[in-house]
């Protein structure tokens, strides 16, 4: 095939592909020159990318606002806690994902019949419930609550998180474009109509809820060693429910890259601002979030496409004027 023609016809695709490769190359080599601080910061950012993208995959498209990410993330953390002395790290990662998936199935079957605010409240109650269940389980099994996690090298955690993040992004990118993705969107559009058009709504909802839980569980396992010490309060902290949602809303859920951008910006700001302005940073975030919801309901991604439209309009207009002359 003619290479110049290929380049000119697939210019946009090539551009995106090349820049993604550059970013990936930069990320993959970061521990070599980034130092401990940036390696850990980036691990955290990638974790939030996984959480917010998998949250948006389910909640953004079906409209079911799940407050349960902390449950599935926590299941991942505790999987690491219970299995770290028995199995090697790379084996525990998929187990954590699978356990989250398995926990999500019955939860989804029960809760996904609830609509709107009731679903949100129930899933949030689940975070508290799981915390207590795990605490009881831990004290029954070991006679104590809370445990130490053997630390792993920062690079190990970073590369594990990078691999899982890339895999998650790829998987979700293709799910969104698949018929499962179309089914999720139709449920979000009008669940009743979707059912009457042949969509098995219960199955789609439960399955995709569990798939998103799977990714969250993976992230939990990898994040556990960074915590050094875990107890149910730390592992099932509601923060891990709220942050991915804030990030997804901040970034905009209409586009695939929205939650990614939201997670990167939000997590970076959180980490850096919290260190510099411990008192004011939450206040500042609250204000930014309110402004975003009020003025940019479609998040950063919405702003970008708005600007694109405006710019596109101006450019088209200029072009037309040029032709007229």
């Amino acid at each position: 095939m003619d290479i110049t023609r290929f380049i000119s016809t697939h210019r946009k695709l090539l551009l995106v592909g090349v820049s993604l490769l550059i970013i990936l190359g930069f990320l993959a080599t970061l521990p070599l020159y980034g130092g401990v601080y940036y390696t850990r910061l980036l691990t955290t950012i990638l974790m939030y990318v996984i959480l917010s993208v998998s949250w948006a995959m389910f909640s953004g498209s079906t409209g079911y606002m799940s407050l349960a990410p902390a449950v599935f993330f926590g299941v991942g953390i505790y999987t690491m806690g219970f299995l770290q002395r028995i199995l090697p790290f790379p084996v525990i990662i998929p187990i954590g994902g699978l356990l989250s998936f398995i926990v999500a199935l019955p939860v989804g079957l029960v809760t996904l019949r609830l609509k709107g605010i009731y679903f949100a409240i129930f899933t949030f109650g689940l975070v508290v419930f799981m915390r207590e269940v795990v605490a009881a389980l831990e004290s029954d099994l070991f006679g104590r609550v809370g445990q130490h996690i053997n630390p792993l090298p920062d690079e190990t955690m970073f590369y594990a998180m990078l691999v899982i993040a890339v895999a998650t992004l790829l998987a979700i990118y293709f799910i969104r474009r698949s018929r499962l993705g179309l089914a999720m969107l139709s449920i979000g559009g009008n669940e009743e109509a979707a059912a009457h058009m042949g969509v098995n709504t219960i199955r789609v909802k439960v399955l995709t809820f569990a798939i998103s839980a799977f990714f969250m569980g993976l992230a939990g396992v990898i994040m556990a060693p960074m915590k050094i010490y875990i107890d149910p309060r730390i592992a099932f902290s509601p923060i891990y429910s709220f942050m991915p949602i804030l990030m997804a809303v901040f970034g905009g859920m209409g586009q695939f890259y929205g939650p990614v951008a939201g997670a990167i910006i939000f997590a970076y700001l959180e980490k850096t601002l919290r260190a510099q302005f411990p008192q004011y940073f939450m206040l500042g975030f609250g204000i930014i979030l309110v402004l975003i919801i009020l003025f940019l309901p479609n998040g950063i991604a919405g702003l970008v496409s708005k600007l694109q439209n405006k710019l596109g309009g101006v450019i088209a207009k200029l072009g037309k004027e040029g032709e007229a002359e």
Binding site: R179, L182, A183, L185, S186, G189, N190, E192, A193, A194, A195, H196, M197, G198, V199, N200, T201
Partner: protein, 245 residues
């Protein structure tokens, strides 16, 4: 041949009988109208057939197969599709994707992507929306939104199509276009049961009409018979329709 048949169909909401002890049937290839005053149970009957609501008692059979206990998506895959009185569209999705949902999920077997795409194109051409395939449905006018619903239902390849007030809220030109559309759908071999308040439309295209009142079927017959039926005139049509206008 009877495509749809109901026996002793009952639906109670609390103590209120929305549909009571109803027997009905639809023959293959018919256009049957379902009329009656507000609250007569027309939409409830639609919801019972399409399994949006469970029956309180009685049974409904489609091609001899009992529908009781099935879920809406199963009914759709069997070959019964519907539209809604208040349009239920996937507003943010473009027209073509709305129809694609029906094409992908409406069949009992897995539909290959190329076939689904072809069905979408055909269905949109059929209802005259080809030019708007990329427009988000929420930006369309009411009549076009209703056409999207029809195209979406057609994409599921139904044998029986339930149309719930397709003409409501449309202007006279749109009504006569919609009447032609319904007849064309039937001519492709699809049986039609339609709820309608626009008497002109009903009388114009239906071969048979069933009249509901307070959840009971009070009349069932050809347009001529219904227009002359004393009870129907009293409860629904009014004196104006008596002259056969």
């Amino acid at each position: 041949m009877r495509i749809l048949e109901g026996q002793g169909v009952n639906k109670y909401f609390g103590g209120l009988a929305a549909v009571s002890n109803m027997a009905f049937h639809i023959d293959q290839g018919e256009i049957v109208g379902l009329i009656g005053p507000n609250g007569a149970g027309k939409t409830t009957l639609f919801n019972l057939i399409s399994a949006a609501l469970p029956l309180s008692s009685g049974e409904i059979r489609f091609r001899g197969r009992k529908l009781n206990g099935l879920k809406p998506h199963q009914i759709c895959k069997m070959g019964v599709s519907r539209t809604f009185q208040e349009t239920k569209i996937f507003g943010n999705m473009p027209v073509s994707q709305n129809v694609l949902v029906g094409a992908f999920f409406g069949s009992p077997n897995r539909v290959p992507a190329e076939d689904a795409a072809r069905e979408v194109t055909q269905a949109l051409e059929f209802v005259g929306l080809s030019a708007m395939r990329a427009t988000p449905v929420k930006d369309l006018t009411l009549v076009n939104q209703k056409r999207v619903e029809v195209a979406r239902a057609l994409a599921t390849k139904p044998e029986l199509l339930l149309l719930d007030e397709l003409m409501a809220g449309l202007n006279p030109t749109e009504i006569s276009e919609s009447m032609k559309l319904v007849t064309r759908i039937r001519d492709t071999g699809i049986t039609i049961l339609m709820v309608e308040h626009v008497v002109k439309a009903i009388m114009g295209i239906c071969e048979r009409i069933m009249v509901l009142h307070h959840g009971e079927k009070i009349a069932d017959g050809t347009c001529r018979e219904i227009a002359a039926n004393k009870t129907v005139i009293d409860v629904y049509l009014g004196e104006g329709a008596h002259a056969g206008s």
